[in-house]
Structure formats: structure tokens, C-alpha cells
């Protein structure tokens, strides 16, 4: 048992920190710092800078472009990325389809897709949820009927985030209508340029267009785009959701927000002094910091054991998901309270990143939208209530 960073790990942290200090373009760093949304070009540009260093998808198997880092190094990298602050590479590419292809793809699929996924030549989105299949994902109805060497796909997907940016979509479709729920589902890759796909924007509470509805009308997908076996797509989906859950804690991001709240509170008048000196505020921050530290350590424990679980996710990743989402939300609430009246003004162009930072107090304009936006993290990826069910079953045997 060695619970401290070794000198090598500390040196690695410095290496990452130095790299990020120079590599993140100033305009992108400022947007992240101010809580603004990035454009598609900015995100692709940033991931390609990372990829040139070999760091866009470090968690992948080294033969496919990942880094042979220890669990601790992966942790350090993510932490430094969040605290820089730098944008986190698109989860659909790096945490979802990449690991899925490595685990389930054919040699040909891996060779074609993985380099393009890592470099964001292909931006992927996720076609899982449907109007009638949210938490109960396995009740999805989008059908795929075999026609020669194609599937003909019909149905409707919901919450297809970034579909309007995406080049490809990984989709869950029903290939056997007669089979029981989880059986009869397949996992396929769909080129977004295929005829028959239409997208309708859904604007979320933060005023931003991130997510969509997606309608599929006789979309023809080559059978060669099937991942894993036909009718065994549920196994692929479970694997994907498990690896997503671990990344969703975002401890570094919450730490960044708390640090930001502490900085801003020093400039926020309260009583005769500033908010940062008020004991009640300080204790509120400290309470959140305690929970974050505990989650950070829990995450390290899960990461340290990650090689013991192989393909099946560590059930404790559900804990990271639940607690991580709660604390992300708590951190945005804290920022709301620091901003006070300054959070009041709605400035759409600033939130979406169309208008650049002009004034010192611009920081407050994104506080409320981000608070509203972050409510989704306890719902997405299997709601926190679903995580309770998963843990009750897997860890407690109830």
C-alpha cells in the first residue's frame, strides 16, 4: 500500500502541466474558464493538438494509440486537463466508441475507424435513447431489417447530442422483433451523410443547442458496419455505459469550479468585507471540498483496481457516477451563490461563445446557464436512480 505520488508520478504531473500550459490556445482556455461553449472547429482543433502529442485517447490500448500509463498517470492527466483548464475531448469518441471498437470491432473496423476517431476526423454521436426508451433503454423500437448486405433502419432517436456536428453515429437498433427485450438488439455504425436522416434541434435550459431528435427513414446501413454479433448489441451497450460511468465523475472539473468560486468570492462584496472571508461561506466551501476529496480517493481506488475487472465494468463506477454528478451540481450551485445578482442577465451570444469576453464581470453570465445545464448529469448515462438499482443488484445482491 503506497498512497502517495512517487517522484516519477510527480514528474509526470509536471510534464502534463507544462505541456498544457503551452498547448491550449489562449482563446479556448479563456472560453473554458468563463464557462462558454466551444464551436465544433475549436473542439476539433484542440483534440488534434492533443492527438499530435499522442494524448487524445490515452486510455485506449497502446497498440491503438493509447498510452501505456499506470492508473495513477491516467488520473493525473485527467485532473490536470480539468484544472488547466482545458476542454475534455469528446466523450462519444474517446470514452465510448473507441473502447467499444477495441473490445468488439473486427480488425478491419479497428484499422479504419480508430485513427479517425482519435483525431476527430470522425466526430461520433450516440443514437441510444428514444421517446419510449429512456431509463428503460432496452425497450427501444428503432427497427433494422436485413435487405441483402444492408440493414434498412426506421425509427426515432432522442437526446442525440452533437448530431448536428457529427460525421458518424453509433446506433442501437432492433434486429429481431420477436426476441425478448435485451436480445434482438444490435449495435451499428451509421454514416450521418446517409439519405433518410433528419435532425431537429432541442434547445436545453441553458439556451444552447447541443442535443437533438433524430428521425431515421429507410436509412440503409451496410451490414459490415455491425459491431459485435447481430442481436448481441446489448452486451456492447452495457460495456459502453460501464466505461462511460467511470469518466463521468469529473472530479477535476468540480475542483476547478470550486477553485473558481473561491477566487471570485474574494472579489465579491459582502457585509463590510468580501464573501470569501465570511465563515458561513467558507464552511460551505469546505464541506464541498471534503466530499470532493472523498470522491477523488474513491475514484483512485476504482482506477487502481481497473485491471481486475476486464470487460465488465467495476460496479463501483456507479458510485462515481452518482456522487460525481451530485458534486458537479453542487459546485455550480456554489457559483450561483457567489454570483448573486450578477448571474441575473441572460446573454445568449456570450453563453454560446459567439461573443468573446469583453468585461471583467462577464464570468457571471454563464453561471446560471451552466447551473441549469448541469442538471442533466444526474439524468444522463443511466439516471442516478437507475444507478441505485444497479448497485442494489450487483453489489448487494438485492
Amino acid at each position: 500500500m503506497e498512497l502517495r505520488f512517487t517522484p516519477e508520478e510527480l514528474a509526470f504531473r509536471d510534464e502534463v502541466r507544462d505541456f498544457l500550459r503551452n498547448a491550449v490556445p489562449a482563446s479556448i482556455r479563456r472560453k473554458v474558464e468563463y464557462g462558454q461553449r466551444l464551436s465544433k472547429e475549436e473542439m476539433v482543433n484542440w483534440v488534434q493538438i492533443l492527438n499530435a502529442k499522442g494524448w487524445s485517447c490515452p486510455a485506449w490500448a497502446p497498440e491503438w494509440g493509447g498510452q501505456a500509463w499506470s492508473a495513477t498517470q491516467h488520473y493525473i492527466f485527467k485532473e490536470e486537463l480539468h484544472m488547466a483548464p482545458a476542454p475534455e475531448p469528446i466523450s462519444f469518441n474517446m470514452n465510448m466508441i473507441g473502447p467499444v471498437l477495441i473490445a468488439f470491432g473486427t480488425q478491419q473496423q479497428k484499422e479504419h475507424f480508430l485513427p479517425r476517431v482519435a483525431n476527430m476526423d470522425y466526430w461520433f454521436c450516440q443514437g441510444f435513447s428514444e421517446p419510449g426508451a429512456g431509463s428503460d433503454l432496452a425497450s427501444l423500437r428503432t427497427s433494422a431489417v436485413r435487405d441483402g448486405d444492408h440493414y434498412v433502419v426506421n425509427g426515432q432517436k432522442l437526446w442525440t447530442s452533437t448530431a448536428h456536428h457529427a460525421d458518424w453515429c453509433f446506433v442501437l437498433v432492433r434486429t429481431d422483433a420477436t426476441a425478448k427485450k435485451q436480445q434482438g438488439i444490435s449495435f451499428v455504425l451509421m454514416d450521418m451523410k446517409t439519405p433518410g436522416i433528419s435532425i431537429r434541434p432541442i434547445v436545453t435550459l441553458d439556451g444552447h443547442h447541443e442535443t437533438n431528435e433524430m428521425f431515421l427513414d429507410n436509412v440503409r446501413i451496410p451490414v459490415s458496419n455491425l459491431i459485435g454479433e447481430e442481436n448481441r448489441g446489448w452486451d456492447v451497450a452495457k460495456f459502453l455505459l460501464g466505461s462511460e460511468r467511470g469518466g463521468i465523475a469529473r472530479v477535476g472539473l468540480s475542483k476547478f469550479r470550486v477553485r473558481r468560486a473561491k477566487q471570485l468570492a474574494r472579489k465579491t462584496p459582502a457585509g463590510d468585507g468580501v464573501l470569501a472571508d465570511q465563515p458561513r461561506f467558507r464552511e460551505r466551501v469546505a464541506a464541498l471540498e471534503v466530499e470532493l476529496k472523498a470522491l477523488e480517493m474513491t475514484q483512485m481506488r476504482v482506477i487502481a483496481d481497473s485491471d481486475k475487472f476486464g470487460h465488465s465494468p467495476d460496479p463501483r463506477s456507479s458510485i462515481l457516477k452518482m456522487k460525481g454528478s451530485e458534486l458537479q451540481q453542487a459546485a455550480t450551485e456554489l457559483l450561483m451563490e457567489v454570483a448573486g445578482y450578477d448571474a441575473l442577465e441572460y446573454d445568449h451570444a456570450f453563453v454560446t461563445g459567439e461573443r468573446e469576453v469583453q468585461h471583467d464581470d462577464d464570468w457571471a453570465r454563464t453561471i446560471a446557464p451552466n447551473y441549469y445545464w448541469v442538471r442533466h448529469v444526474s439524468i444522463v448515462g443511466g439516471s442516478n436512480e437507475i444507478q441505485h438499482n444497479i448497485l442494489a443488484k450487483t453489489l448487494l445482491g438485492l
Partner: protein, 384 residues
């Protein structure tokens, strides 16, 4: 960084786990409670044989050079079995204080008999007016030629009733809460002028109130010849808090395991109550609280020897806050999910609640540590 135990640590864990399983059942524990000291002298001898009493001490002092991780392993077992013996009070707290504050001759006099199980120590520090403030010492020691003369009252001395030797904090200069001018003295528990009132605590462990009335000790009784002992006291108490965190985790885990087992046995409305989603979710909430507490127990043991004192105190305060919150939630839920049987003496789950409620108070409650952490600037530096 890795969380796996090495070979030696696994052996310690196996040994203490076996001891708890074989010798600390519900009935056995009740029997130890009935013994003269309120705990088992026979088991104490077994701890000595197993090397547990010497575990945290340096080899030069006759110990086995275990670190915080080894103490954590032992204390988790102490928590699981609700052990009654004075391991925390005598070995971790008072022993830890001697190890860091005493000079070589004093260590050679005090530690070997402690390690052999032939002598018990207690740390007589807290006073009725002090609450959780470690600097609040009103007991006085004055020099009288070749003696020190100590006067004062100590309250809640953990296992102070059975101790052979007391480590007494007393002020040699300054006002009541002055951080400077506190010294530590080795006092024979049977010395003239020492009177003790021993009592059972809510968790059925033992403590004592101790009055020192003109107690005369030789000059060599001044530990480490230091009159600035507060930093040493703080360090020893931080060590005890880290140990207590591990004990709490053991107790929580055991109470939780009992609760999950009960959910799989108890039937109402014709079905196992564990099939009810509301109870499943309560159990999961307990699990999350325990995992968070376990993480902070690790963190505490990782930081307890940190040389930057402010960093150490922040970490220990943070750990105690999490432990206290988890302990209260888990203990109360464990009783709640047991239903009526949970509030009875004959069901052990409530015994865990009693111990956990005492752990919450010992060395400072959550509010105390949160306020301290907030004053010290918290865990995340505001400056990048």
C-alpha cells in the same frame, strides 16, 4: 500509488480478522464486558503475542516499525468486532505520543513493557472546560527544586481507569489557552495525589476523570524535556483521529453487512423486505457513504505523517468531517432498516450505533473540524 496490501500487511489483516471472527462474537464480547476491567486481559496478552502492541513503534524502541497503513488495518478490525480493549488509548494515542515526544531513555523505560502487554498507558489531556480545543490546558506544573508538582483535573481520559502510567499535559507557563507553555509528564497512576473515577462510556468502553492534587514527579518525568508540547499533542491526536477513522469504517461496514443480510431474511407482506425498492435505495445510500468514508480513512492514514503541519491538519479535519457524517447516516439507517429489533440490546446493530456516536464526538465533531478546515483555507488552493 497503489491500494493493495503487501505480504506483511496481508498477514496482519488475516491475523486480526481471524481474531475478531474466532474470539469476538456477540456472546464472547458480553463476557469480556463482565470482567473486572470491562475488557479482556487474556486477549490483551494475545495482542502482545501477535505483535499488535508493538506494531506502530520503531524497531529501536522494540517495536515492529509498522506505519499508518498497518494501524489502519488493525483499527478496522477493532471497529468490526467492537473491541473493548484499550488499543486506541494505550498504543495508538498515549504510545504514539511517547514515541514522538519522549527522549531515548524515557522511551526505553516506557515502551518495551507496553509492547509486551505488561503496562498500560493513558493520555490525560482533556479538561472539562476545553471541549475540543487542544490548547486549552488549565492543569499546572510548577518546579519545586528537583521535582515538578502538578495540580489539575482531567476529564474523559480514555481507558484512564486501568492505566498504569499516565501521560499528563500541564501548563508550565502562560494563560489557559496559550499554545505555548504546555509540557507532558509521565505520572504513575498510583502516585500520591492522583485520584481516579473510572466509568463506562455509552459504547461500553471505559474512561476516567482524574484529579491531580500536588502530585510530585522527578525532573526526568518531563517528557522530552520540552515545554512546547502542543505540536506533539496535535500530531498524536491526529494519529488517533486517523486510527479512529479506520475503526469507524470497520464498524460501519459490519453494521451495513448485518443490515443487507437482514434485508435478505426478513419477510413482510409475504415477501423479503429486500425486494422493496425504497429499502434497496437506502442500502445503496449507506454503501456510498461507507465508500466515501473508507476513501477518507485512506486519505487520513496517507497524510498523518505529512511534514507540512497545515496540510496534515487540513487532511485530518477533512477526514473526520466525512467519517462523522457517514457514521451518523450509516448507523441510523442500519437501525432503521432493522426495524424494531434494531433498537434493542439483543441486536448488535445498535451497539455499532452507540460506538459510532462516541467516535463522532471523540477529538471533535463535524462542526468543529469543518470550522477548522474553513479557517485553514480548505483543501483546494484558491490560487492556481
Amino acid at each position: 500509488m497503489n491500494f493493495d496490501f503487501n505480504e506483511e500487511q496481508r498477514m496482519i489483516k488475516d491475523a486480526v480478522d481471524r481474531l475478531v471472527a474466532d474470539r469476538y462474537g456477540f456472546e464472547q464480547r458480553a463476557r469480556y464486558l463482565g470482567e473486572a476491567d470491562g475488557w479482556s486481559r487474556e486477549l490483551w496478552a494475545s495482542y502482545a503475542e501477535l505483535g499488535l502492541l508493538g506494531l506502530p513503534f520503531a524497531e529501536a524502541d522494540g517495536g515492529f516499525a509498522g506505519g499508518p497503513a498497518e494501524t489502519m488495518i488493525v483499527m478496522e478490525a477493532v471497529g468490526r468486532g467492537l473491541l473493548l480493549e484499550p488499543y486506541l488509548a494505550s498504543v495508538v494515542l498515549a504510545g504514539g505520543l511517547v514515541a514522538s515526544a519522549a527522549d531515548e531513555d524515557q522511551r526505553a523505560e516506557i515502551l518495551p513493557p507496553l509492547i509486551a502487554g505488561e503496562r498500560l498507558l493513558a493520555f490525560a489531556h482533556s479538561e472539562a472546560q476545553a471541549r475540543y480545543d487542544l490548547a486549552d490546558v488549565d492543569t499546572r506544573a510548577r518546579r519545586d527544586r528537583d521535582h515538578w508538582v502538578i495540580d489539575g483535573c482531567k476529564r474523559f481520559v480514555l481507558h484512564g481507569d486501568c492505566a498504569d502510567q499516565l501521560i499528563v499535559s500541564a501548563r508550565v507557563s502562560g494563560e489557559r489557552c496559550d499554545p505555548d507553555g504546555i509540557a507532558l509528564f509521565v505520572v504513575d497512576a498510583k502516585a500520591v495525589g492522583v485520584s481516579r473515577r473510572g466509568y463506562q462510556t455509552q459504547d461500553r468502553l471505559r474512561a476516567a476523570d482524574i484529579t491531580l492534587d500536588g502530585v510530585r514527579v522527578p525532573l526526568v518525568a518531563l517528557l522530552g524535556a520540552s515545554r512546547q508540547a502542543l505540536p506533539l499533542i496535535e500530531k498524536a491526536v491526529d494519529g488517533a483521529i486517523a486510527a479512529l477513522c479506520a475503526e469507524a469504517v470497520g464498524a460501519m461496514q459490519q453494521a451495513f453487512d448485518m443490515t443487507v443480510e437482514y434485508l435478505k431474511l426478513r419477510k413482510q407482506f409475504g415477501v423479503l423486505i429486500g425486494s422493496f425498492q425504497v429499502l434497496q435505495h437506502s442500502a445503496v445510500d449507506m454503501l456510498v457513504m461507507i465508500e466515501q468514508a473508507r476513501s477518507m480513512a485512506y486519505y487520513a492514514s496517507m497524510m498523518v505523517n505529512e511534514e507540512d503541519v497545515l496540510e496534515r491538519r487540513r487532511a485530518i479535519a477533512a477526514a473526520k468531517v466525512q467519517i462523522n457524517r457517514s457514521a451518523r447516516f450509516v448507523a441510523q439507517q442500519a437501525v432503521q432498516l432493522h426495524g424494531g429489533i434494531g433498537v434493542t440490546e439483543e441486536c448488535q446493530v445498535g451497539h455499532f450505533m452507540r460506538r459510532l456516536s462516541m467516535i463522532e464526538i471523540l477529538f471533535g465533531d463535524a462542526d468543529h473540524h469543518l470550522a477548522q478546515l474553513a479557517r485553514d483555507g480548505g483543501l483546494i488552493a484558491a490560487d492556481a
